[in-house]
């Protein structure tokens, strides 16, 4: 739910990176964290297991700057991808303004991608949200791996992108596609807000 | 029923006593209570524990030693409290006409049995 403060002219939006385990959600956030100037980011928080798998979520607050006179802040979250963290995925998804689905391009991961994508839609539906109303961007990560191991963007698109949402090939470890993905979801979320379809618009006082 | 109940009921049977409570000084939470009607045990416990704690710290700051007995007289009644070595404080809420001397004796007896 976007939070808009008219008095201080601030917008805060929540974006959730969703996808199967080890698809590169946390890597996306790490790359963003590494690239963004210090004055534009808060501390990145990771609730991870001893083996560095995301246990609950990663959290990265970003100060996007002024958009149409509004100071715009994004809060980026990742969900844990492993199947058994279903309950925590639902919790992190609550109140999301936009979702980035990070798919693993490896051919052997296609079933996990599809299962996770269905899981996303089921979790949104369970919260009474029409998945079609939430800005969604697909990212096909690990496109840097040898071609014989991965599916092409077209093949992944055929399998996952039945809604025709924006999609980007990416190599989150080294950066290609990360910026484009973030740009696209930011645009989707703010356009939706602009159209007045996001809930939770509030008046404000002094900040 | 906690083991404190008979002791608290004995206190509440005293003439003019409206409520007696055992309260954790640190948490301000009720451990057990015996209340007449019209008493909010949680509120009394939270505020009495805070008051007792302040009194204990004040006595210590003034190098007066431990607090023996705390009595607050208000327009429509009084609050008495005693505490011992543990975190527990016994609190009594009484009418203005209640016999404070007797309440004091009963509170010390109760404190002995508590420790």
């Amino acid at each position: 739910m976007s939070l808009v403060n008219y008095a201080t002219r601030e917008i805060t939006c929540k974006i959730v990176y969703y996808g199967p385990g080890r698809s590169g959600k946390t890597t996306n956030l790490h790359y963003i964290y590494g690239q963004v100037p210090d004055d534009r980011k808060g501390r990145m928080v990771s609730l991870a297991t001893q083996t560095d798998r995301t246990l609950f979520f990663d959290f990265l607050p970003l100060d996007l700057g002024s958009i149409s006179g509004f100071t715009t802040k994004f809060q980026l979250y990742t969900v844990p991808g492993q199947v058994y963290y279903q309950a925590t995925r639902k919790l992190v998804l609550q109140g999301a303004d936009g979702v980035v689905f990070v798919a693993d391009s490896q051919a052997r991961q296609i079933d996990e991608n599809i299962e996770s994508f269905q899981d996303l839609h089921a979790n949104l539906a369970e919260q009474g949200i029409d998945a079609r109303s939430v800005p969604l961007v697909l990212q096909y990560n690990k496109q840097d791996l040898p071609r014989e191991l991965i599916l092409s963007t077209g093949e992944l698109s055929d399998a996952l992108n039945f809604r025709g949402v924006p999609e980007f090939p990416a190599d989150a470890l080294h950066g290609p596609g990360v910026f484009e993905t973030l740009r696209s979801i930011a645009e989707g979320v703010l356009k939706r807000l602009s159209a007045g379809t996001s809930a939770g618009v509030t008046a404000g006082s002094r900040g | 029923m906690t083991p404190f109940r008979p002791m608290l009921e004995a206190l509440t049977r005293q003439r003019g006593v409206r409520a007696s409570l055992i309260v954790s000084e640190n948490d301000g939470l009720v451990v057990d209570s015996s209340l007449r009607f019209d008493q909010d045990g949680d509120r009394v416990a939270a505020l009495a524990a805070s008051m007792y704690r302040k009194a204990r710290l004040s006595a210590r700051a003034a190098r007066l030693g431990a607090v023996a007995f705390l009595q607050l007289d208000a327009e429509r009644g009084r609050v008495c409290a005693v505490g011992g070595r543990s975190d527990l404080v016994i609190v009594v809420v009484a009418d203005p006409a209640a016999n404070v001397g007797l309440i004091r004796v009963e509170l010390f007896k109760a404190l002995e049995s508590l420790e």
Binding site: M1, A7, I11, P37, V45, F56, A186, S194, G207 | S24
Partner: protein, 161 residues
């Protein structure tokens, strides 16, 4: 005391709560983790992160309660060597919020709980009804702004649009 709010009707009740309960800090947040208001010694914590974690903790205890007790657990209390936390929901006409209260030995759980009940009552009474429809907020030039800012974030030239 520092106080900052997104919603003006929250300010007076929250300020009074921090004063009365002798809390170090109180944060009011949306269940999604976004900050609505903050009062007290707000420089003691990274507020945005604290809210994200508080929302997660609240959601977790709620779900845990449903599994253990059939109903969501409402409140949480954590104790540390010097500080304690009290986390509890507040329901108003504007929706549900969560209040994170940080306190130390100057206060107690009993006092915080007692004044928290008053805070809930005050907020419920002060909450204005939800606005009929959200107003559009973004002007036509937002795409230019978006590109400029994203480029600044990543230290590269804005993409041509």
């Amino acid at each position: 005391m520092n106080i900052a709010t997104v919603e003006p009707w929250v300010e007076a009740p929250l300020r009074r709560f921090v004063d009365d309960a002798r809390a170090r800090l109180a944060l009011l947040l949306h269940p999604s983790g976004q900050v609505v208001a903050q009062a007290g010694f707000t420089r003691e914590v990274d507020v945005m992160t604290a809210c994200a974690l508080a929302a997660a903790s609240h959601a977790t205890s709620g779900e845990l309660g449903k599994r253990v007790d059939g109903h969501a657990f409402r409140s949480l209390h954590y104790t540390g060597p010097d500080r304690q936390l009290f986390l509890s929901p507040v329901n108003t006409a504007r929706g549900a919020y969560i209040c994170l209260t940080v306190f130390n030995g100057e206060s107690s759980l009993g006092l915080v709980r007692m004044y928290f009940e008053e805070l809930c009552h005050d907020l419920a009474a002060a909450a204005p009804p939800l606005p009929a429809a959200p107003r559009p907020t973004i002007a036509a030039d937002f795409e230019l702004d978006l590109n400029r800012n994203l480029a600044a974030l990543f230290g590269r030239e804005p993409a041509a649009t």
